[in-house]
Symmetry: C2
Subunit: 377 residues, 2 copies
Amino acid sequence: MPEPFSFRIAASDGAARCGVISTPHGAVATPAFMPVGTQATVKGLAPESVRASGTDIVLANTYHLMLRPGAERIAMLGGLHRFMNWPHAILTDSGGFQVMSLAKLRKVEKDGVMFRSHLDGAAVSLSPERAIEIQALLGSDIVMQLDECLKLPAPPGEIERAMRLSLAWAERSKRAFEGVPRERALFGIMQGGDDVALRLASARALVDIGFAGYAIGGLAVGEPQEVMLRMVEAVTSVLPADRPRYLMGVGTPADLVEAVARGIDMFDCVLPTRNGRHGLAFTRFGSLNLKNARHADDPRPIDAESSCAAARDYSRAYLHHLLKAGETLGAIVLTTVNLAYYQRLMADMRAAIAAGNFDGFRAASTEIWTRADAIAP
Amino acid sequence: MPEPFSFRIAASDGAARCGVISTPHGAVATPAFMPVGTQATVKGLAPESVRASGTDIVLANTYHLMLRPGAERIAMLGGLHRFMNWPHAILTDSGGFQVMSLAKLRKVEKDGVMFRSHLDGAAVSLSPERAIEIQALLGSDIVMQLDECLKLPAPPGEIERAMRLSLAWAERSKRAFEGVPRERALFGIMQGGDDVALRLASARALVDIGFAGYAIGGLAVGEPQEVMLRMVEAVTSVLPADRPRYLMGVGTPADLVEAVARGIDMFDCVLPTRNGRHGLAFTRFGSLNLKNARHADDPRPIDAESSCAAARDYSRAYLHHLLKAGETLGAIVLTTVNLAYYQRLMADMRAAIAAGNFDGFRAASTEIWTRADAIAP
């Protein structure tokens, strides 16, 4: 029997907490960062490299996988874990975000959303029930409800309409999830844009329905960090303490620290992987753009003291050369370095919370980043 | 003191021989296959993955590295081994082949070749002396003379002119090499196209000059395998037995076996890496085009019995998906699989020669490949 989903808080420090999510595919130490494996692969890395970075759980995209290679095909091949050779935990989003950002000619109705595939223009429909069915076929450990995610800024009426629709879909998702193996978990998604009252209404209604975890959607879509954090503070005040809280699509290292300070347990973001492919390295001392000509003759590694071999083994000059020459190894090394940096940051936050020193850690990190931004080119 | 270059034959079986080349950066078991690291990286693989495939030595391209990032820059950064984080042996070609195939507006004269860079059109000149100087700056363990390499078919007069010019450059290269640290090695390159008499004349003249090893250039440029093997047979009859013989730019698995049968010790070729990037897997049972739709639902790995984890860990369906989706991991896995296959083939040949059973190994391999070609789609 696979281990059923559960969440245990091991220690708290202010609003920050650290703990463990148990899933049918292993434990996830929280606060947790989930690398994004859009098309059933974390771009450029073999699964053993993703694991070596300290990753317990990856996110995969329902929208992409339903279109290619197809959820039924993955199920027939033994499920997503076997398909992508990742035996650890997987969370799948519901497809809602990509339907809004990638699909063509979409039409949102009460029953669900109709759209045309960005790959071949084929007409596809996605309902709350179908989103659950697809994720059940994939075999995800954590399943997300279908929601409607708006770009900000948006008119208040639009924000409220999308929030209410997402709540109706949340109820239908919960009913549809009754047919899914019990050891897996369903998370509800809060909406409400940048409106505290709507966010609170969304959170309270979701808690009334009852979910294994609660996600904050519709943020990190262009609003200032301060707005995002205000929304996080508002909803965490009404969410049950014993359920994981997931801030979707966030963020920069500073975003992660500030959100953990406000009680967030889970994150996903393309930043470490996408920025790595584009030549940007995250380091303890701020970020480095290795495409910059000033690195061409620099024999120093990215970080000689890093516990990540990729950050120690290659000179900045070599990485600059690889990026200029368009060689894949440049993207691979920087993706590895960035993922290791993000997971190290999460581990450091967990240790600081357990030691009751999260405020000290947060202040020290903020100070280093502020200084780095001042000296970085 | 680094180990000086040397070559020791451990066993012979017919014309085939196995042995060890010692270099300042470690031993190379022969017959040896050298993966191509054009721009100071074997495309898509970290150096530890290249090493894990069983690789003792890689080839890097003088032409590419002299243009970007520049030989003087690499020397200032501690040499090519440190630059590309590859502490094992490196052979560099002389740039002659790429000047002919990539550069624009080239002009071959007695003194050397003038050309325009394919990167930015800058005017560059390369002489036999400069080719040695560049390779000395890179710190290559095995240095190749500058030669003129023609595409076949070519007019007989042209073939003889290029062969004589390459011989004159061989003499100048040997003199220029006197200033290079003694533990490194210089190889001469035979030319002569598909003309046995010219090939013999080229080989004899090179032996008179005297080199640490002898390379056969200007083959695998479009001629039939039978022609290539006839040239190999001709020159090996006059080459000294105690020096390594290197067949440049070759080849398919069958080419390697047939050339080893004729006394060749070293090879380089882009096939395993380039074909991997294009979706083709070499296996013990022939090659597989993973882009082919027939693999879309195939749960089998490339080779369940392979000693290479990448050949066992991923289904053909998953690799097909990665290739269709343009995901880098597909190219990485197939490059890994192909390099492991090539190095396993070399190891099997070495073992068969040591056991005095090379003919049996060759016949069995040929039979399997013939059958695979008949059943492969």
